[in-house]
């Protein structure tokens, strides 16, 4: 049997659905980063947060490094830096822990998210 992808191991789309609310509540409640989300349209957040988590879980998505770069460029002009990226990583880990995802899978998801750092921060 071929090895399951990280996305499937974590629980696929159902896991993403469960994680969306938990993760985004943490982000909005965090004064270090909430300012970046102030004018983001809430109506479209569910879809956006799902995209974020799908990328982090290594799930099916069409985002390229260039997309990540372009998608966050307006935030970089507003001062987005490593400390903000670290805060998002923290919430990602805490969310998965809350959902009882095993530590080794959390580490894998964190590594995928970490791999986007330079693109997100426009370097």
């Amino acid at each position: 049997m071929s090895e399951q992808s990280l996305y499937d191991q974590i629980g696929g789309e159902a896991a993403v659905d469960a994680a969306v609310d938990i993760f985004y509540r943490k982000v909005l409640a965090d004064d270090r980063i909430s300012q970046f989300f102030e004018d983001v349209d809430m109506e479209r957040q569910a879809a956006k947060q799902k995209s974020f988590l799908t990328v982090a879980f290594g799930g099916p998505n069409n985002y390229t490094g260039k997309d990540m770069r372009d998608g966050h460029a307006h935030l970089v002009t507003r001062g987005l830096n490593d400390s903000h990226f670290d805060a998002v990583m923290e919430h990602l880990g805490a969310t998965l822990k809350e959902l009882n995802v095993p530590d080794e899978l959390i580490a894998k998801a964190a590594a995928i998210a970490e791999s986007t750092r330079n693109d997100v921060l426009g370097r």
Binding site: E13, D17, D21, Y24, R25, L28, D39, M42, A46, K50
Partner: protein, 284 residues
């Protein structure tokens, strides 16, 4: 995409809001065609209907109630919206406050915007018997009978009451069992309308609660009995600090809608349970 003939495979509707699923929206990327289907793109809702004005009357000094004959074949969910066109073909969107099973007409609540092209035309020129043209109804902000015990919170400001009035009556028509709390906000008493009807609904249904909220008052302001001083969102949160498991409908001024969506989300409402229509208007 939305299927207008046939039913999409459930696989292609995964992750969509219930209101989209019930209108046969689907994700083309995960839909395989094993039978014939006819599809349209979202917002390609461009059928026009010609109809006539049944009544126009003032609900408050700034809001008119416009009733139009319901054209045959016109389908809608209360809370969805239509585009209303003036004689020059300039169109603006307005939400449906009527319900198809209870009302023979389509009802809109239109606030007069100073120098507004379409709202001024409605307020100052339209009279009973005039012919007007409208689009078909679109939008996802409407009642769904998928969870009759769920608690519902409805928050609207100004003419944002229009869709909510449709939604609350639709929910009751579907014998919704969970509590339904409606908060209607306005800057001044002049923006509060349909009080009698809503108080009556609350009296007749013990799961319905209605609160009118007025944010700007002076010493001379006389608040009617049952009207509360404050902003609708703040009062709603004060009454209901924890709302996990609730579904929320939020309509009216765009900034209010976004701020309220965020506040309700932080108070426990799931993102997928937030339904809203910001009344976006043209830039000055």
């Amino acid at each position: 995409m939305r299927m207008v003939k046939g039913t999409p495979a459930s696989e292609s509707q995964k992750g969509l809001k219930s209101s989209l699923v019930s209108q046969n929206y689907f994700l083309p990327c995960s839909c395989s065609a094993d039978r014939d289907m006819e599809v349209i793109l979202p917002d390609a809702a461009n059928f026009r209907f010609s109809t006539s004005v049944v009544s126009v009357d003032l609900l408050t000094s700034e809001i008119v109630r416009l009733r139009l004959a319901r054209p045959s074949g016109f389908q809608y969910h209360p809370g969805q919206y239509i585009t209303l066109y003036n004689a020059e073909g300039t169109g603006r969107t307005y939400s449906l406050a009527s319900t198809p099973v209870l009302d023979p007409f389509l009802e809109l609540h239109i606030r007069l915007v100073p120098n507004g092209i379409v709202s001024s035309w409605v307020h100052k020129q339209l009279t009973v018997g005039d012919t007007v043209s409208i689009s078909e109804a679109i939008g996802n902000c409407f009642y769904m009978a998928d969870n009759p015990d769920q608690s519902l919170l409805l928050v609207g400001t100004g003419s944002g009451l229009a869709p909510l009035y449709g939604i609350v009556r639709d929910a009751l028509h579907h014998a919704h069992q969970g509590i339904i709390k409606l908060y209607h906000g306005s800057g001044t008493m002049a923006g509060i309308y349909l009080q009698q009807e809503l108080n009556q609904l609350a009296k007749n249904h013990n799961n319905v609660e209605y609160t009118a909220c007025v944010s700007r008052i002076s010493q001379a302001t006389e608040l009617d009995a049952g009207v509360v001083h404050g902003r609708a969102t703040a009062i709603a949160l004060q009454h209901n600090p924890r709302m996990s498991g609730w579904r929320a409908y939020i309509c009216g001024e765009p900034k209010m809608v976004n701020d309220t969506s965020r506040a309700l989300f932080l108070a426990g409402v799931s993102l997928k349970d937030v339904y809203s229509d910001p009344f976006i208007h043209s830039k000055p």
